[in-house]
Amino acid sequence: MKARRIIPIQPEPGSALPPDERAAVRAAIAANKQRAGALLPVLHGVQDALGYVPKDAVALVAYELNLSRAEVHGVVTFYHYFREHKPGRHVVQLCRAEACQAVGAVALEAHAKRSLGVDFHGTTADGAVTLEPVYCLGNCALGPSVMVGEKLQGRVTPQRFDKLLAQARATA
């Protein structure tokens, strides 16, 4: 049988977060708590500060907004935007929308996954790169489009993709 527990005493919500992350989550909560529909702004605040929404942050956010953990988890997983795992140092967003698909994004996607060895939402083993799909970056005339970090790149061929990533890896 599973380890026995005593239900009513639950650990302090979010107590497993490292102190700095906890402070960041608390700040995101404090900044948005009073707003109607505070949950989404709070989650955005957390992701902006930490790059993702850690599991333990969900407990803390739920507690502070007086929601259940399940509710917050439902919202976090509903939006592709929110990440549940710490992203790599570089987030690469690859456009999968129509215009880009028409000019080679499918092949690029296959190449990207192969060369990085990850699927979408995955992070390379060395923690350097996270690959994310995105639907139109507003750069349709110059597809296939890719965002590496904050920087938008057009006409990305597989070769250019590898080069861009090599550069990115070299920077940090």
Binding site: P8, I9, A62, N66, S68, R69, A70, H73, G74, T77
Partner: protein, 979 residues
């Protein structure tokens, strides 16, 4: 899976009809007298239903069954599966019948070729991602998905079964990333996501019905799946195992383990939960004489199809190996037990009692009834004592919980019972919870209360401890009055002070309905600045501003309803506090209609009933004093004996008399005084002093370890009878299997009575109820036949109220005019000092029940396997105690050892524990102090000191030795049997 006998009408009845007195979720009383009727045509038939009914329900009420999957009657319509589409003349497209309300003149078509095609398409999609192992599936025989596939005529699935799916662990030789393995962590049910159709009925059941919100739909689109909390095992999640989701699930995804192992039940019998005072109605789904599962009854007037982990799942104790099925006797408690025939056991018991009476006098024996027994059993025991023993030495365990309620409400309002039904809470605007912990103690009612709170009612909690209700998802108390234990009366007086001095009294109500003299006296008393919140702050520890805000909210926030529990009664001033509560309700006019009232939350299933049935030494059934000549004459005639006009001994007096050598024989039915009564060492000393103790119980409980005769009792599944819940509701208990020991409890009492020389000849408990009805004015309209007809009845039920009385004191109080009582605050003599600087208060927990004799013998121990001592981090720190440490708790009465839980739930200076496990000895430390009026023990306040220790207390060691010795004596019996 829904009950096997209930029809699902798809969507709930419109709200006003649901609130109507004594109406279950779906009973024929669907047509609300007050609501407007709407007439429409469905499939050519003219149909009239209440305004607000859905097209789906209107059709179902007339036996036109529209296919559906995401709709079920206990939940609001959701409209996601698109299987229930219909055509409505003049409306474009195909609206979902579950989300479309009826309208006058509407013409609805539920079946035609186009609808059939649409439905088939929907089903195909579902089945393409569903396993096809129907024959071996636990839901087989009662699966809604299977039924719908049948209803729409599904014959093939064009998409095939090889696509992306959630069904198979492997796909094309590789692990299928979408597949999630079965979760069997909960001891009572399993979650098999491969069978899930993502209808979200479980999620909505947890949200709407239970109010725990432990489930969610994770992800979106084809990725959507049900997740408990953050994709955890159910056991690790926020789930409290109420079973609502399991019941709501249309597939086998969520299934009871008992159903999986036993298969579908073949018949169902309606009965009543034997745990708490909510008194939920259940359908015992049976296979022969075996219970497959307990399903909450949608027609249940107290629970409307909801349940908690105890009533729904924790029935394993009824067949636990610890149960004893044969009578046993022994001359001394140091002798081994001897199994004997029923004749010998009863004969021995009767001869001992007669011998004791002959030697020490008529008053030297007595009986104790239990709030866990049925009304009929309780009635018989008190009759046996009064008529058979010839004295009034009968008392009940309600002495130790709600006797102050009886006394206090009788003095002020005129009737010893709560004023409302549970449904009344749905009309409350301000809910005040005092000294009660509904989410643990009365979970199903708590769910209803939480529903009302989510709708916007305001909440005031007065409790030393931060109970869950104070802050729980979507609910937050406006005021938490965190008072010091033992200062209830000071608090209620200061609340009253604010109401009186700030002009918040409902003058016209008071003038018209109450004794004005008593009111003036009271107003003068509480108006004194002595009672102001500012003056009382030092006593109660509650900031004055909070008290003022709470008083204003209660008096002016609309319908104000008070719910209270043992945190009110189990004090030296328990009765005073009950009267203080009644004063407050009368002064603000919060009594005599729906949505208001004074509501005791009764602990055990039949606390109300055992009090009603005359279990107290001073009262005959129906709360008539033994000195009331008319009542005595009536009973003397009916029973054919002379009755004493003097009250007999209360439980504590019995103990005193035993120690003085004057009280030597005790018949205890279904009660465990050695564990549940305060100051255990004193109790056991008294028990040891007696010459013949007869214990009638399922188990060799703590008291039975001191007994000379053991009569094996029957569980609530093995007998007929009635329980009366906290709202005065009498509900039927039905025999679903024959008594495992051969006799139901009422039969055993009858045997004993006959052997004692007072004849009883009942052939069925219904005859006992008939006798009760004939002799008790508030019960005259009650009978088993009537209960079958109405489902349940709230007393008073007589000529004036043939269907019972949901709300009391409507036009006048039962005693005529309401009486205000002056409630002077007298601090308890149990004071903290340097030696005992902390206050210990006690309570309980959701998964366990009372002394735990039942729940400890079920899988509920998964959640709570030991009692712990909660203490505040600051108190823990100064004593060097860490979470999980063993700590000794010493009071003036005794000492015990428990493990510590360090938590801010309790305030500094206060420690808290539960009393579900005998070896914890929580009552070794509680003292002899008791309520001045009723002797209800002061469980809630004991001055203690806590220290870190490394070993059990002396008492625990002695307890362990004694228990081991008694266990040996029990096993010695087994050996004798084998010979």
């Amino acid at each position: 899976m829904l009950s096997i006998v209930e029809k699902d009408f798809g969507t709930p009845a419109p709200r006003p009809a649901r609130l109507w007195k004594n109406v279950g979720m779906r009973s024929g009383g669907d047509v609300d007298v007050a609501a407007k009727l709407v007439t429409l045509t469905i499939d050519g038939r003219e149909i009239s239903v209440s305004e607000g009914t859905s097209v789906m329900r209107a059709a179902a009420l007339n036996d036109i069954n529209i296919p559906k999957l995401c709709a079920t009657e206990t939940l609001d319509a959701f409209g996601s599966c698109r299987l229930c589409l219909v055509q409505i003349d003049g409306v474009r497209g195909y609206p979902a019948s579950c989300t479309t309300p009826v309208a006058p003149g509407m013409k609805v078509t539920t079946q035609n070729a186009k609808l059939a095609e649409l439905r088939l398409g929907v089903m195909e999609l579902y089945i393409s991602d569903h396993p096809l192992d129907c024959l071996t599936c636990p839901a087989n025989g009662h699966c809604e998905l299977q039924d719908m596939a049948g209803a729409v005529g599904l014959r093939e699935v064009r998409y095939g079964y090889d696509g992306d799916n959630h069904v198979y662990a492997k796909q094309g030789g590789e692990a299928n990333p979408r597949f999630v393995a079965k979760d069997e962590s909960n001891p009572y049910f399993t979650f098999d996501p491969s069978k899930c159709i993502v209808c979200s009925r479980c999620v909505r059941a947890c949200d709407e019905q239970q109010g725990t919100l432990a489930l969610t739909i994770q992800g979106r689109g084809f990725d959507s799946k049900v997740s408990a909390s953050q994709a955890e095992d159910f056991l690790d999640s926020e789930c409290v195992s109420c079973g609502a989701c399991v019941q709501a699930c249309p597939t086998a995804t969520l299934s009871e383990k008992s159903l999986i192992s036993m298969g579908q039940a073949e018949h169902s019998i309606t009965t009543t939960c034997a745990y708490c005072g909510v008194g939920c109605s259940f359908r015992a789904e049976m296979k022969g004489e075996e219970v497959v599962r307990m399903v909450p009854n949608k027609d249940g007037h107290a629970n409307h199809g909801h349940s908690c982990v105890k009533g729904r799942f924790a029935i394993g104790y009824a067949t636990h190996t610890d149960r004893i099925y044969k009578p046993m006797i022994r001359a001394k408690i140091t002798d081994p037990w001897r199994e004997v025939s029923w004749e010998e056991a009863i004969g021995y018991a009767a001869s001992e009692f007669k011998r004791i009476q002959a030697k020490y006098g008529r008053d030297s024996i007595g009986g104790i009834t239990s709030s866990r027994c049925t009304n009929e059993e309780t009635y018989l025991v008190q009759k046996l004592v009064r008529a058979g023993f010839g004295n009034n030495n009968v008392d009940t365990c309600a002495r130790v919980c709600h006797s102050p309620t009886g006394y206090g409400l009788k003095q002020t309002l005129g009737e010893s019972a709560g004023t409302q039904n549970f449904d009344s809470v749905m009309q409350a605007d301000v809910i005040m919870v005092i000294g009660a912990n509904p989410t643990d103690g009365h979970p199903v009612f708590a769910s209803q209360m939480k529903r009302r709170l989510r709708e916007g009612a305001k909440l005031i909690v007065a409790d030393p401890r931060r109970i869950d209700l104070v802050r729980t998802p979507h609910i937050e108390a406006q005021q938490h009055l965190k008072l010091r234990p033992g200062t209830n009366v000071a608090l209620i007086n200061s609340l009253a002070h604010v109401i009186v001095t700030e002009g918040l009294v409902k003058e016209d109500f008071v003038r018209e309905r109450c004794e004005i003299e008593s009111f003036d006296k009271w107003r003068h008393f509480v108006g004194d600045a002595l009672h102001s919140p500012e003056a009382m702050e030092a006593v109660t520890g509650v900031p004055a501003a909070q008290v003022r805000a709470a008083a204003r909210l209660y008096a002016t926030g609309g319908n104000g309803a008070i719910y209270y529990g043992l945190g009110v009664t189990e004090h030296s001033q328990g009765s005073t506090m009950v009267m203080g509560i009644a004063n407050l309700a009368m002064a603000t006019g919060n009594i005599g209609r729906e949505g208001v009232g004074v509501n005791p939350l009764r602990g055990q299933n039949n606390v109300q009933g055992s009090c009603d049935m005359g279990s107290f030494p001073h009262e005959f059934p129906g709360y008539r004093h033994v000195s009331d000549n008319a009542a005595r004459d009536l009973l003397e005639n009916a029973w054919g004996v002379n009755l004493l006009n003097e009250p007999g001994l209360r439980i504590p007096n019995m103990f005193e008399a035993a120690l003085d050598g004057e009280f030597l024989g005790l018949y205890i039915e279904g009660e465990d005084i050695a564990q549940s009564d305060p100051n255990t060492q004193h109790v056991t000393a008294a028990l040891t002093a007696m010459e013949c103790i007869i214990v009638q119980d399922l188990f060799l409980n703590e008291s039975a370890k001191f007994a000379h005769v053991f009569l094996p009792g029957s569980s609530f599944l093995e007998k007929d009878g009635t329980f009366t819940n906290a709202e005065r509701r009498i509900s039927p208990v039905r025999k679903v299997m024959k008594p495992k020991s051969g006799y139901a409890d009422w039969e055993i009492t009858q045997l004993l009575s006959n052997a004692m020389g007072y004849p009883m000849h009942y052939t069925h408990p219904s005859e006992i109820m008939d006798e009760i009805a004939a002799l008790t004015p508030t019960f005259t309209g009650v009978s088993f036949a009537r209960l079958d007809e109405l489902g349940s009845i709230q007393w008073p039920c007589n000529e004036q109220h043939p269907e019972g009385t949901p709300t009391m004191h409507i036009d006048e109080f039962v005693r005529g005019k309401g009486r205000f009582m002056v409630t002077e605050y007298v601090p308890t003599s149990e004071k903290v000092n340097a030696k005992f600087p902390l206050i210990l208060t006690t309570g309980r927990i959701l998964s366990q029940y009372n002394v735990g004799a039942q729940t400890r013998r079920t899988e509920n121990v998964t959640w709570h396997s030991e009692d712990r001592l909660e203490l505040h981090p600051s108190d823990a720190e100064t004593r060097g105690i860490k979470d999980g440490d063993w700590c000794g708790i010493a009071s003036r009465a005794g000492e015990t050892v428990l493990r510590a839980s360090v938590t801010e739930r309790v305030q500094p200076g206060v420690v808290y524990t539960t009393f579900h496990f005998p070896e914890s000895g929580a009552n070794v430390i509680t003292t002899d102090n008791s309520d001045w009026a009723t002797n209800c023990p002061e469980y809630k306040v004991t001055a203690v000191e806590v220290t870190r220790v490394s070993q059990p207390s002396e008492w625990q060691k002695r307890y362990r030795e004694f228990s081991e010795r008694q266990q040996e004596l029990l096993e010695a019996r087994d050996a004798a049997d084998a010979r």
